[in-house]
């Protein structure tokens, strides 16, 4: 086959190989635990109803934004493990701003989004500044900031919260009706609505692609990520890029909580969804930091999450099994890309050796 088709086949082979391996390992775990493998897979791979599809798209929207945030950091060789803390503190700030309703209607929405982006960026910026000025590993500083943000939000939530009558949930004031973003209905049936914020997510993806591939800033960012010394030689201020990249990453992370805030919860309470940051890391790795890849990864993870919900009832298997699948997918994707890369390298070496041998006069 021609080199181009070979490259195409290998390009698709890597993620496929990874998925097959991940499913195989999960099945092995299920077998060892004595759970019904066939029933589990038939439940997960069954065709989803419109309501489920809406849930999948909604989860994927949130996961996509989280993956984008992490990917911006990855492109600069920065590991922003702090997306979890950043989005929670940003969502809290956004909920407070939205609830207060200083501006009417749509302007309130714009103000809230701006507040979320700024707070998320600032929180990530702390880690960026520490890295740039003091050389503190951003892996550890962002993880510490995660824990600090949990306590900080809990403290402020207690101070500004409004308790609804008859409910135990402590939450911020609800967003007024004029500031809620309407959902997009998806076929008939109850609950089959997609968050209106999915539009912003798509725009964010396009913006990510444009920023990284069509602007000078994006070029500088990618260059610094690939070779810091080359970047310095070409006049890029690495410290400023570090802080800037963390700010952008944190800003995107600030958007993560907004689809839920505007489309479902309408306030930030102690039960606001957590853990979306770590899923974002896995999805960014899965999608190889490419906006379309991250979208597919987000859809895959959202699909697995949604389809595993009835597992407890239908097959008496804990839905946590998909967490194992998701973690294994992360590893198998990276390993399979490495294996395919080495194979492709060997193939190239063989081709070159063959060509050289043919050139030698007999």
């Amino acid at each position: 086959m021609s080199p181009r088709t070979a490259r195409l086949v290998l390009g698709v082979a890597a993620p496929l190989l990874a998925l097959v391996a991940a499913f195989a390992i999960t099945s092995l775990v299920l077998l060892l635990a004595g759970d019904p493998v066939g029933l589990v897979w038939s439940t997960i791979l069954s065709v989803p109803e419109p309501r489920n599809i809406a849930n999948i798209i909604n989860s994927a929207t949130v996961l996509y934004l989280s993956g984008l945030a992490v990917a911006v950091g990855f492109r600069m060789n920065l590991f922003n493990i702090g997306v979890d803390g950043q989005y929670r503190i940003a969502a809290f700030a956004a909920a407070v701003v939205a609830g207060e309703g200083w501006l009417p209607g749509a302007l309130n929405v714009v103000l809230t989004v701006a507040a979320a982006v700024l707070v998320g960026a600032a929180w990530a910026g702390i880690a960026g500044v520490l890295r740039a000025t003091r050389g503190v590993s951003e892996v550890i500083s962002t993880i510490m900031l995660n824990f600090i943000s949990t306590s900080l939000v809990a403290y402020f939530l207690r101070r500004v919260a409004v308790r609804e009558e008859g409910s135990n949930i402590v939450a911020t004031r609800e967003i007024p009706g004029s500031s809620r973003i309407p959902g997009i209905p998806l076929g008939s049936g109850p609950g089959a609505e997609v968050y209106g914020f999915v539009v912003v997510a798509v725009l964010a993806g396009i913006g990510y692609w444009f920023l990284l591939n069509r602007t000078r800033f994006g070029f500088d960012l990618r260059a610094t990520g690939q070779s810091a010394t080359a970047a310095v030689a070409s006049g890029i201020n690495v410290k400023r890029m570090t802080v800037a990249a963390m700010l952008v990453s944190g800003g995107v992370a600030g958007l993560v909580g907004l689809p839920i805030l505007f489309g479902d919860a309408y306030s930030y309470g102690s039960t606001f969804q957590s853990g979306l940051g770590f899923a974002g890391i896995a999805i960014a790795l899965l999608g190889r930091n490419h906006p379309v890849g991250i979208a597919l990864g987000a859809l895959l993870f959202a699909f697995l999450d949604e389809q595993s919900n009835p597992l407890q009832i239908l097959a008496d298997v804990s839905p946590d099994i998909v967490a194992i699948t998701q973690g294994v997918i992360v590893l198998t994707v990276v390993i399979s890309y490495e294996v395919v890369r080495r194979y492709r390298l060997r193939l190239e070496q063989q081709q070159v050796a063959q060509q050289l041998a043919e050139q030698v006069p007999a």
Partner: protein, 395 residues
């Protein structure tokens, strides 16, 4: 090191005198601090073994979680020491995944570590739900009460020192409190941990094996050119690292509490890494760093408000000292910032009676950040740490 310890006790006594926070150096606090220090120290020790061989191990948290589960599973069915074995074995399993991914397949170390954390968490939650539901006292997120590992108490010493502590004599009482914490209810696992530290120092810095292992982390190419099987040393180092992290988790489940509980580790794997960095990748520094984090974590939990408030005064004083040091080096701007922050912190100390609960809970994490921010520049990590090494890369 003993002089340093004496200086710290002296400083604590002084602070107790000045601020009136009387729980800073009681035997109860010190014992709780010891129990809090050990898991962080063991996790950091695991990180040390791995990074000295050149493999960054972010997956310590995941291996610790596996360790808590291993201790829960075997500790319930077969008793305390079986729980210890279970913790080590399961931690090693996590280490095996990390080792295979990084050493055999050349995956980026941090990506592999993050993946191990995700897998370990999911696997533990799944298996815990499977094996602990339906047991008396157990459930989806926690195990039933586990067997104990045993502890020793030297009664006559303990009582005598207790008397001395009650007398409230400056500095003497605090020393008595420290000694009393050492001889009362001392769990065998704490003694094991101390022995492991000594063994690590000897193994890595006094044996040929250790020299070769450290050379893999400093310059694997040079090591391989001398005939060292770099990949095997890295593999073994990561396995040991996983075992130690698992033991740390086992300690959490068996000694620090008495059950496996979901979310028990609370980020201690990462704090252990921070302690290792703070200790400049050496066991003694690691121990000091772990003690710092363990102590601040304990303070945050016991009488949190007043104790942490006392720490604010310490912080303000340290900042003033830092400002003076900076001024003497003509760094006036940085010194000025230090003074301003010192005044803010000092003002905070004088205006509030006790630090609110939410802020005391973040004490260890803020301490980690501060310590790393101040100390990171003078530290040197193993030269080839994080480098992906392929066999035959020499020349």
């Amino acid at each position: 090191m003993l002089i340093g310890l004496a200086a710290v006790i002296f400083a604590l006594s002084l602070i107790e005198l000045v601020t009136g926070a009387d729980d800073l150096a009681s035997s109860g606090t010190l014992r709780a601090a010891m129990v809090a220090t050990v898991p962080i120290a063991l996790a950091g020790l695991g990180g040390l073994w791995s990074e000295r061989a050149g493999v960054v191990n972010i997956g310590l948290e995941g291996m610790m979680i596996l360790g808590t589960y291993g201790a829960g599973l075997l500790g319930y069915h077969y008793g305390g020491w079986a729980g210890v074995a279970g913790a080590i074995v399961l931690g090693m399993l996590g280490g095996l995944i990390h080792a295979v991914a990084t050493v055999v397949f050349g995956v980026d170390h941090i990506i592999s570590g993050v993946a191990v954390n995700i897998i370990a968490l999911g696997a533990t939650q799944y298996l815990a739900g499977l094996t602990f539901s339906g047991l008396p006292g157990g459930g989806q997120t926690q195990s039933p009460r586990l067997g104990s590992v045993g502890s020793i108490t030297i009664d006559p010493l303990s009582d005598g020192l207790g008397n001395l502590e009650q007398r409230d004599i400056f500095f003497v009482s605090e020393v008595a409190a420290l000694l009393r914490a050492l001889v009362t209810n001392m769990s065998w696992l704490v003694i094991l941990a101390v022995l492991l530290f000594v063994a690590t120092y000897f193994a890595l810095w006094r044996t040929t094996f250790g020299l070769r292992l450290r050379s893999c982390g400093e310059s694997p190419a040079s090591a391989e050119s001398l005939g060292v099987d770099v990949l095997r040393y890295k593999f073994v180092a990561v396995l040991v690292s996983g075992g130690l992290a698992g033991l740390a988790g086992g300690f959490l489940a068996l000694v620090a509490s008495s059950t496996y509980r979901d979310g028990q580790t609370g980020g201690r794997g990462y704090i252990g890494l921070a302690a290792m960095i703070f200790g400049n990748w050496r066991p003694t520094g690691l121990l000091a760093g772990s003690a710092l984090f363990g102590y601040t974590e304990t303070l945050g939990l016991r009488q949190g408000g007043t104790s942490v408030r006392a720490l604010l005064l310490v912080l303000a004083v340290l900042l003033v000292v830092l400002a003076v040091w900076l001024w003497r080096r003509s760094r006036y701007a940085a010194g000025g910032i230090a003074v301003v922050v010192a005044i803010l912190v000092g003002g905070l100390y004088f205006t509030i009676d006790a630090v609110p609960g939410d802020f005391t809970r973040m004490t260890p994490y803020v301490a980690t950040l501060l310590v790393l921010a101040l100390a990171s520049q003078r530290l040197r990590m193993p030269a080839a740490d994080g480098q992906i090494y392929r066999r035959g890369s020499v020349g």
